[in-house]
């Protein structure tokens, strides 16, 4: 018992120190590879990506369907099943490598120290149980609380994210709530254990714009109040501009560009990033054709050789078809995996 209290106190102290230090690295991913064996061949869904997450920041992973952004999240949480999957590389969190961690150990990390918010609130909850019971399940699995205390904490958490009538909500079933309300309950579920990292996988994609605005505001508040770290996964650059501190753009299992958010929007370098930014439907385009990226997103078992974007790239060179580009760093904190930078050409 005293051990647990000690540990809690120790963690509290660690948190205090974290607030003092500017850039406390909380999660480091090195050379992560997640491959799946499928009848069509080996799918290199995430292929040698590296990134890190500091305390109190929002890191956005942006990309289109099949770029590996969700698989990255699932790999961090140990949710990919091996076999058919094979996870290699390092995911360093809390001083240890999560890759290859035993399932019994993982349970203390997943949902407790790293929690996740899913895209479809309607399918993420079990329709047969009240949301209160489902929140209780998470609380009791990870926290040393008795029923009464757990319920109090749950109601407090619901209150802290401005859910009206939390006591009433506690006893309701998922079908009695709207998608926006359920998404907020899911955020509460992710917060109950005071995790160090929250992974939000397209948390607003299924929501209407006015509700999306409310949920994004809520996440922003949480982040500034609790100094939590968020990995925000989305395909929508509009929401990235609203919430992210740093952005990693992914394409076909690779991170093609990493930059602080302002830098990325002001000075996108990778042709895919600029293509994505140009694909925004602007009001000025009315009456004209919209700019777009040629071709389609390749399927996972037939990623092209060399730079995986080369078949769609307007500036592809001979080299791009053969050798995958290394990362260049044209500005501090801004890296780009594109051969165009080799010549010192940054546009």
């Amino acid at each position: 018992m005293t051990g647990a209290v000690e540990r809690e106190r120790g963690r509290e102290y660690e948190r205090e120190r974290g607030r003092e230090r500017e850039h406390e690295r909380i999660l480091t991913v090195r050379n992560l590879k997640t491959y799946f064996r499928t009848p069509e061949g080996v799918v290199r869904a995430v292929d040698d990506i590296s990134f890190h997450l500091d305390r109190g920041e929002v890191l956005a992973l942006v990309g289109e369907s099949g770029c590996g952004k969700s698989v990255t999240a699932h790999s961090i949480l140990g949710l990919v099943k091996a076999p058919p999957a094979k996870v290699e590389g390092e995911i360093v969190f809390g001083g240890r490598n999560l890759v290859g961690l035993a399932e019994t150990e993982y349970r203390h990390v997943r949902g407790k120290q790293i929690s996740m918010i899913f895209q479809e609130p309607m399918s993420a909850f079990d329709p047969l149980y009240t949301v209160g019971l489902q929140l209780m399940e998470v609380a009791k699995a990870h926290m040393p609380w008795d029923d009464r205390e757990a319920k109090e904490r749950i109601i407090d958490t619901l209150k802290s994210i401005h859910i009206p009538e939390p006591e009433k909500r506690y006893d309701e079933y998922p079908h009695e709530m709207s998608g926006g309300m359920l998404q907020r309950i899911m955020i509460a579920m992710a917060l109950i254990t005071s995790p160090d990292v929250i992974i939000a996988d397209e948390p607003t994609t299924a929501l209407d714009v006015t509700i999306q605005a409310q949920v994004l505001n809520l996440m922003q508040d949480l982040q500034s109040q609790y100094r939590g770290s968020i990995i925000f996964i989305t395909h929508d650059l509009g929401t990235v501009a609203e919430i992210a501190d740093r952005v990693h753009v992914m394409y076909a299992g690779k991170v093609v560009e990493k930059a602080p958010v302002v830098e990325l929007f002001d000075n996108p370098i990778h042709p895919y990033t600029s293509g994505l930014l140009a694909s925004r439907v602007r009001r000025e385009y009315k009456g004209r054709d919209l700019p777009y990226i040629e071709g389609y997103v390749p399927r996972a078992y037939e990623f092209p050789e060399g730079c995986r974007f080369h078949p769609r790239c307007p500036r592809a060179m001979a080299k791009c078809k053969e050798i995958p580009p290394p990362e260049f760093e044209p500005a501090p904190g801004h890296t780009v995996a594109c051969w165009l930078l080799e010549e010192g050409d940054d546009r």
Partner: protein, 329 residues
Amino acid sequence: MKIISTRNLKKYFPIRSGVFLQVSGWVRALENVNMEISQGETIGIVGESGCGKSTLGRAIVKIYEPTAGSITYCDPSGASHDISAKIDRRLEPVFRKDVQMIFQNPFDSLDPRMTIRDTIREPLHTHRLLASKKEMDERVAELLMKVGLYPEYAQRYPHEFSGGQRQRIAVARSISVNPRLLICDEPTSALDVSVQSQIINLLKDIQRDTNMALIFISHNLDVVHHMSDRIMVMYLGNVVESAPATELFDNPAHPYTQALMSAVPSWNPKDRKLGQVKLEGEPPSPINPPSGCPFHPRCPRRLASCSKVKPEAVEVSDGHFSACHLHGM
């Protein structure tokens, strides 16, 4: 030339409960919708989920029978017909050929067991447009080229294509019978950003070539603005505002339209704007819609009368209608 017009169109869905499935209530999906669409025109319908935009599209193609109100259809010869109830048996083939639809999710809207050729040929066959097999195959090849696919793809199955390609196939199928009106229900929402623009350009190109009319249903304001000549904004089954596209975006009159526009992300990290969004709460259920103005419980500018009297649409400027009590003041 007019194609379709509706007057006070209503669609209520019954809610049945109990052992004898007695009607215990109504989902009021559409309330008194008036609209009109002519050749070559694009009408955009925008609103959040549950606002009735898809129901309106489906009522116009006659997937749903309207509860009240009328739908008038003008056939290619210019004669108008009331199609609110059942369509006349002789008119039905003409109407079905004239009005086509494409759906949101190209993963569900194509039959996985039919080749692309069969999929595109089916409407040609149904309407007996072309006699010989050879003519049909030529037409399929021509349509595939028109939507930017190779004619060789005709013998493949839907699973061999990406979402964007499938949506192109759905477009080819819908235009195969030369419709005069195409209803697009969220045609780009399931697609990747980089592919969305391709489909929008394709629809615009086809419209330029054929002078067909489009009803473009979407929740995405920017896309609707790009596509449409006129836009109707819907909320809980009601059209709260309708105006020419540019006018609507320059001078949104209804508080709901204003709120909707303010909730669109800025795309500019130096000027984040979602923090300023004032809209509270969520749309109420269409089963027990609020009295008076449907938007009043969430409206930042509501007046005492808003909860009592339902506002009528007033013309705030040329061709710009908005249903709000603020305009009468």
